[in-house]
């Protein structure tokens, strides 16, 4: 099975070398595509110097559209598996094997790497953990998905899910909403435990007010899920 690792990156010239080295060491049989979402630093140069293919957008479209670009690429080139892995160093390529195992066995279509299924690693701030637990409950209430870490961007998808996300993927704060869309489309979603680290360098784009806005926005989006199972307009 051919697999593609999608690395969305916004100004991650500092972190990418380590991330790409880790991937090369721990998942050498996988193709890597770095989606440069309008970076103003040397992200594109750094990535291509290390042999990764770069999909550069001159406009910053946001994480949702950036990741979807990766899925469009994956669908065009007929990959069987795709893994989302952040360019800031929080996701460890060592877990890729565990992530795709249920997909290879034909049990799941979408596998999310959850920080909360085992001990250890960086599990976000306590404020966000409360919000995440709330989202987990809300997601279950809205579409029945049992997910302990709905905001995790470390996830793997199989062929069916990959083709679906290439057409239908949320733009803002996409991680929880994407799960709801997938479930409603009839895809099987599950989790495996992973450990995450704090980002190597650079600033995270998260602060308290943004966190509040995030949870309000996601709640509203989950409340207003599409009428049809195909997910409507969301970013064709």
């Amino acid at each position: 099975m051919r697999g593609l690792i999608i690395v969305p990156a916004l100004n991650e010239a500092g972190n990418l070398p380590r991330v790409l080295s880790a991937i090369a060491a721990l998942a050498p049989t996988w193709d890597v595509v770095v989606v440069d979402d309008g970076s103003t630093d040397a992200t594109e140069t750094v990535a291509s110097q290390r042999g990764a293919r770069v999909l550069r957008s001159v406009i910053n479209l946001g994480i949702g559209a950036a990741v979807q670009t990766g899925y469009l690429w994956a669908r065009d080139r007929k990959y069987d598996l795709a893994v989302q892995l952040d360019g800031d160093g929080q996701h460890d390529p060592a877990f890729i094997q565990a992530l795709v195992e249920p997909i290879k066995r034909g049990q799941l279509d979408v596998v999310i790497g959850s920080r909360f299924l085992s001990e250890g690693g960086f599990r976000s701030t306590s404020v966000r953990r409360v919000g995440i637990r709330y989202l987990s409950w809300f997601l279950r209430f809205r579409c029945g998905a049992k997910v302990t870490d709905p905001t995790s961007g470390f996830r793997a998808v199989g062929r069916r899910a990959l083709e679906f996300f290439a057409d239908y993927y949320p733009t803002d704060y996409p991680e929880p909403e994407a799960i709801a869309l997938a479930v409603r489309h009839g895809l099987r979603v599950g989790e495996v435990p992973v450990r995450m680290e704090e980002r190597f360098s650079g600033k995270s784009s998260i602060n308290v007010w943004r966190t509040v806005y995030y949870f309000l926005k996601v709640s509203l989006a989950l409340l207003l899920l599409p009428t049809s199972s195909t997910g409507g307009l969301l970013q064709r």
Binding site: I59, D172, L220, P226, G232, L233, L234
Partner: protein
């Protein structure tokens, strides 16, 4: 205080029906994906705020008193004008942003086409004219 004295019952009922209908229509547009949530967030929130003000007309009375508006119903219409101005400005801002991105995309296409023509020439398609 009798809310009836603030806002005539007919006006209040009509306003509530219109606002609820509008809100329902916007929600339907979002769910059937003809409107994105991100672009319509302000519409949803301000319409909901307007609905609250209409259902609890004491708020309108408060505004009327503090702005020396004689008739509280006028406060409702004044609020409606502010509501429209806010949403219109927000839409104009969004359009400006879209224009900037379109300009940038057009430039990118221009550059890509030039690169493509250069590559074509290098690959030796010299007998063919560059793409129109």
């Amino acid at each position: 205080m009798n809310p009836q004295s603030v806002l005539p019952r007919e006006l209040q009922l009509t306003a509530v029906m219109i606002l609820v209908g509008f809100l329902g229509w916007v929600v339907h547009l979002i769910r059937s994906a003809r409107l994105s949530l991100r672009d319509s967030l302000l519409w949803v929130l301000s319409t909901f705020a307007a609905l609250l003000m209409t259902v609890f007309p004491q708020t309108l009375k408060w505004v009327a008193i503090h702005l020396s508006i004689e008739v509280p119903s006028n406060a409702l219409f004044a609020a409606a004008i502010v509501y429209l101005a806010i949403n219109l400005l927000s839409t104009t801002i969004a359009v400006s942003g879209a224009h900037t991105r379109v300009r940038r995309l057009t430039q990118e296409c221009t550059l890509l086409r030039a690169e493509l023509n250069e590559l074509r020439a290098q690959v030796g398609n010299s007998e063919r004219k560059p793409a129109p």
